[in-house]
Assembly symmetry: C2
Homo-oligomer: 180 residues x 2
């Protein structure tokens, strides 16, 4: 994985992909599949909806750390598998043959097979709406990876792969943050 | 526009599309382009990041209403146009030849040219992180529309169109809400 400048990390979540979120509770690592995420600030700050119904939530609250990993189309069945079993009784890294890599600033692992990984610290939690606020502190991309199409969950059991790319950089220039 | 059951409305935002958000301040309607959105609950509840830097924010706070409209690939230049000018000095419906339609439960208009529209009420506001919480109260889809591919903003001035659809309904069945 190659370091991605932090000011570009929001571009990994802005398109709205399904993501894998890793945690490490001090004893073991876990992964959950999440599609309810949002960029909140360019620095970057992210919001994700999660709560006690996810086994990972306890570790995230306790350690105040996680990694957001971005899977691609070729990983769909692992993404669905991770999302349909629980860390209470499953070592998901082993079961789905995903490889944990040490992160630089948090104990939660990166996922080697993913396109990108964002190390995050929990900076706030809105209990009423189950929204966790995350500050991205380091970001990594697999620059050599050929398959780069992200996945989008529809919510009815179907998914959509990234299609055609459309360039409107010139028209958008005035609205883009510096250096992106 | 044909009514969409409310329990399916979250599937319009879960894939992470760029959306148009309309408001009506009592005098006139406005539109903003937003890609920082998230599903928070299936009922549906949504979160969007916005604040005083958007002209529409004042109307949204005052009226506690808005409509989330879902544009498709063919509307990209209108989406970019709406996102790069301000309602302070522009009638965006007129400038971008978008057609306001009366909504059923809010004064903010639906957008006729869009694939779908979700009427929303503002139910909470997290000022610290500029997150507005919206309850969807009615949803509409243009069932006759041929172009149905949504758009995803990358955040660097490029956009990605929906590509291939992948069906994992069987594997996901246990995790899906009833009736979706």
């Amino acid at each position: 994985m190659k370091k991605l400048p932090l000011n570009k990390a929001f571009t990994l979540l802005e398109p709205g992909p399904v993501v894998l979120v890793t945690t490490h509770d001090g004893l073991q690592s876990n992964i959950m599949t999440i599609s309810w995420t949002m960029v909140v600030d360019f620095t970057p700050v992210f919001a994700i909806t999660t709560g006690p119904w996810n086994h990972s939530f306890a570790a995230m609250r306790k350690t105040k750390e996680c990694v957001i990993a971005i899977p691609t189309v070729d990983l769909l069945d692992k993404v669905v598998g991770v999302g349909t079993c629980s860390g209470t009784d499953t070592d998901k890294f082993a079961k789905f043959k995903l490889t944990p890599l040490p992160a630089s600033q948090v104990k939660a692992p990166l996922i080697k097979e993913c396109l990108a990984n964002i190390e995050c610290r929990v900076i706030d939690y809105n209990k009423k709406h189950s929204i966790v606020i995350l500050q991205g502190v380091a970001a990594w991309v697999d620059a050599a990876r050929k398959e780069r199409r992200m996945l989008h969950a529809v919510g009815d059991g179907t998914f959509i792969a990234d299609g055609r790319k459309l360039d409107r950089r010139q028209a958008m220039r005035a609205k883009l943050p510096a250096g992106v």
